[in-house]
């Protein structure tokens, strides 16, 4: 059995430091790893990254993250990544990591992802250079996720993105902005691999649960959606050993 804690869109800055910490300190009793689905900061500054590292670093469980669009706002994503990695946090972008947990190999493949839209309402690689750049970015991030997912062998494989791979977990958001919240190419990448679970954030008004066309469970863990410090998902189920109640 593996238990994964997950949250996204925590947007940490000085004013948030300390809010999550009491719940995060309980993690070793509740989960084996913490995954954060992007938008770690408000503006993607080094100072905010240090705040995130202070709040989410130094935990007794491994912490694995992808960046979100907010983390790119100041064009300091490389320095942000460096601050996080220096704090022992694993940052994925077109890469994967494997954690040995309870005798199982948990693979986590991550990419920020990008918008682009979904079946029947997606952008095409056509027309102005700006539109082709937009769709090119969509395709580049999806290809990076696909490659990361195929780069590891694991007993359970989790896809971690910021943008959504399916429209179901966007329900609650205005239809007009779906194309800025995710893209079907991420879903295709996830379906191309033996993924057990896909986690994303970004859609604050979206819905928690969906599935890819190929049947992989998708969870939107944006903080305003889950309304608690993190959710806990159980994979490779066996005997339940902690005090948490199993639902679903």
């Amino acid at each position: 059995m593996i238990r994964i804690a997950a949250v996204g869109d925590v947007h940490v800055d000085k004013d948030v430091v300390g809010r999550y910490r009491p719940a995060l300190e309980e993690l070793p009793d509740r989960a084996d790893a913490l995954l954060v689905a992007g938008d770690l900061t408000r503006h993607g500054t080094v100072e905010e990254a240090r705040c995130f590292a202070k709040e989410f670093g130094g935990l007794a469980v491994p912490v694995v993250v992808v960046l979100g669009n907010h983390d790119h706002q100041s064009d300091q994503q490389d320095q942000v990544t460096e601050v996080l990695q220096d704090s022992g946090i694993t940052v994925l972008e077109g890469t994967a990591t494997v954690l040995e947990i309870n005798g199982h190999r948990l693979g986590i493949a991550g990419s920020k992802g990008f918008g682009g839209g979904f079946a029947g309402a997606c952008a095409s690689n056509f027309g102005e250079r700006e539109m082709k750049d937009f769709v090119g970015t969509t395709e580049r991030y999806a290809a990076a996720l696909r490659e990361a997912l195929h780069s590891v062998e694991a007993d359970a494989l989790v896809a971690l993105t910021h943008y959504a791979p399916v429209p179901e977990t966007l329900v609650g958001e205005p239809l007009e902005i779906y194309a800025f919240l995710g893209c079907y190419q991420l879903g295709q990448a996830i379906d191309s691999a033996p993924a057990s679970l896909a986690l994303h954030g970004h859609a604050h008004h979206g819905s928690e649960r969906g599935r890819t066309p190929g049947g992989v469970p998708v969870r939107n863990v944006a903080h305003p959606v889950i309304k608690q410090a993190y959710n806990v998902y159980q994979l490779l189920s066996g005997e339940i050993e902690s005090s948490l109640t199993t639902v679903g």
């Binding site: 305003p224 410090a229 998902y233 948490l244 639902v247």
Partner: protein, 82 residues
Amino acid sequence: MTNDIDLEAEIQRLLTEHDRIAEQGITVQRREHSIVLGGEVESAQRRDEICRQITTRFPEVEITCDIGITRAQAPSEVEEIS
């Protein structure tokens, strides 16, 4: 109350692009005598700053603030994925 038909758009861009706010998850709904702000943010300071900046930019607009602070307690349940 302004009659500016683009008011909601201007407020949403202000909330996203203002360097002291950077919030994309705030809803803006026009009522007869005010606009209602919804959604959730990470701190009371952020909620208050949103109202302050809108009032500064649009002093004629009456604001009703329904913005909540997202709770950050530990969960009591686990979901089994199958």
